[in-house]
Symmetry: C2
């Protein structure tokens, strides 16, 4: 009798443990790489609010638009934007046949390795080099070149694959939002074709939800085959005020949530903040020199100054990489 009761209790305990495990799995933490803290709490209570049907903050799925910057927000941007290293490799390869490219200030700075000068030119200088080195290619061809390059290219400061330096907490955030009916967009100062080379695979974001800086293009029919090829002329710089302008043009709705990390994202965050109902504006603050990089107000690449002031003043959420990210990079590359 005693043994039986003992067994009975053991069986019950086991059952309880199994139930606990199952319920933990079911209601499991969707953001395990985020430390419990103000940033994680802000995300969860925002998503709860906009998805609670009948609640005062409810937002219909069609209006759940979240926009993310890319460089410095979804992956590392130091010591320079990843795309710069890609463009530089291509520039070195092709420049000998094109002495006329030396007319470009950006090209001269790049070939001289003058990162500071290039950083000052921002996305415009980068796009100028991309334009020269990719003119005549289709967006598919540009994506293919970038894809191949990203397979082996490494960050010179960290000696890690660039594609390894995507932020694990951001991958979880993107998936969490989509699981709650959000449409996630990238709105980046980087070149649109370059980002599209990795957006679907790395972030689960299809190419038509990527907005970026772009070159002008031309429709050509050659031997019965129709193509669209890029021209060495800038079409749009998707940075600063260019971000909300392109959001209004391509998305046609004001986001209810936006995430950035630099002054180049300020206009997008202001545009997001100016709508009615619940809003979530977030800034990644790079304050973790040990695990990633530490920079803000003085940095030439990804300067975070005015946007930080407004975030602090208006109560936007500042994500501290040091304190909010339990893990920075994924355990392995996808």
């Amino acid at each position: 009798m005693k043994t039986r009761r003992f067994l009975g209790v053991t069986a019950l305990t086991l059952l309880a443990l199994v139930c606990l495990a199952l319920s933990a799995q079911a209601s499991g933490d969707p953001l395990p790489s985020w430390h419990d803290g103000a940033a994680k709490q802000a995300i969860i209570s925002f998503v709860d609010k906009v998805t609670q049907q009948g609640g005062p903050g409810y937002v219909a799925p069609a209006e759940r638009i979240a926009t993310f910057d890319n460089d410095g927000t979804l992956w590392s941007e130091q010591p320079m934007y990843v795309q710069f290293f890609f463009a530089l490799d291509r520039l070195k390869q092709l420049a000998p046949q094109h002495p006329e490219w030396k007319k470009s200030t950006a090209v001269r700075a790049a070939l001289a390795g003058d990162l500071a000068k290039l950083a000052k030119m921002g996305h415009k200088g980068l796009l100028e080099i991309v334009g020269l080195t990719h003119a005549g290619l289709t967006s598919q061809q540009m994506q293919a070149l970038a894809k191949a390059w990203l397979k082996t290219a490494r960050n010179p400061k960290k000696d890690m694959l660039f594609v390894r330096m995507i932020y694990q907490p951001m991958l979880e955030l993107l998936a969490y939002l989509r699981a709650h009916g959000f449409q996630t967009f990238i709105v980046s100062g980087g070149g649109v074709d370059f980002i599209r080379a990795l957006s679907q695979h790395a972030y689960g974001i299809p190419p038509y939800q990527v907005i970026g800086s772009s070159l002008k293009s031309k429709f050509v029919v050659k031997e019965g085959k129709a193509e669209v090829v890029r021209l060495p002329k800038i079409n749009s710089i998707d940075d600063g005020p260019g971000k909300p302008v392109n959001i209004a043009l391509q998305i046609g709705r004001r986001p209810i949530m936006a995430v950035g990390n630099s002054d180049g994202d300020l206009a997008m965050l202001q545009y997001t903040a100016s709508g009615p109902g619940p809003r979530l504006m977030m800034l990644v603050h790079h304050d973790d020199g040990a695990r990633e990089f530490a920079y803000d107000r003085q940095s030439a690449v990804g300067r975070l100054d005015k946007a930080l002031d407004q975030a602090l003043r208006d109560g936007w959420t500042v994500i501290s990489m040091k304190n909010d990210f339990a893990q920075v990079f994924p355990a392995q590359v996808k």
Copy 2:
């Protein structure tokens, strides 16, 4: 006994009828407003081919991009683009306060009711008027104006609500494609804000899957509120070669299917046709003067001439409104 058997047979017959009805509903015709014929067959076999996993024509869902023209393809465009009547109403309302607008050829033609001249100017003339009459508005404000106008505005030739003159077979086609993993896009010469006023509600297409002609915009912050307002300058004419150029810019993938109705869609169809694997290129031929309008090679609005030649030469699918559409307009407005 006889009565009982009689009742038994009746019950069985009833049961059989119920089963038949249920099975018809379950495996029901997804395109009931299309007559059985070459066009319907082309659609169904194309969708079967690209969705058959392991089959030679299989296309992954992420690549199932279908682009649709709007005017004349999804709804009627005669005697003139719907947006023209909208812009004209607004022009008449605002012109008295703006004598300087008379500098514009398009404005003078519109105020004089010179449809022929306006039609010759195409989407450019229309967009010029839209720019003048909507400068300083946000895209949300433009959409709200168009939405309100569409509630009561009627086609002058047919005395039907414009929103009633959407093609029922196209609504079925859009839903059928989406049910098979396609992403459906509108790629129209019309103004993007105008189309977005109805795209979600009428076609089930969200604003970020609408590409159209557009005005330049400006980011402004007024009393702490950030907005993007339209300027009276043309940004992009999404017609002819502009269609594939904007597809490459905003979608970033070549469509595997495209549907249009005029020479303004030819470049989009050529671009679609030039990719590898299964492709479906379709043209709506307006040959039904009784139920809608009959026009093609000689029409100023929606001219179908060169595109028809290429369709016939290359075996693209020509949809005869008269013979392929069992029903043209929906029984009621959504």
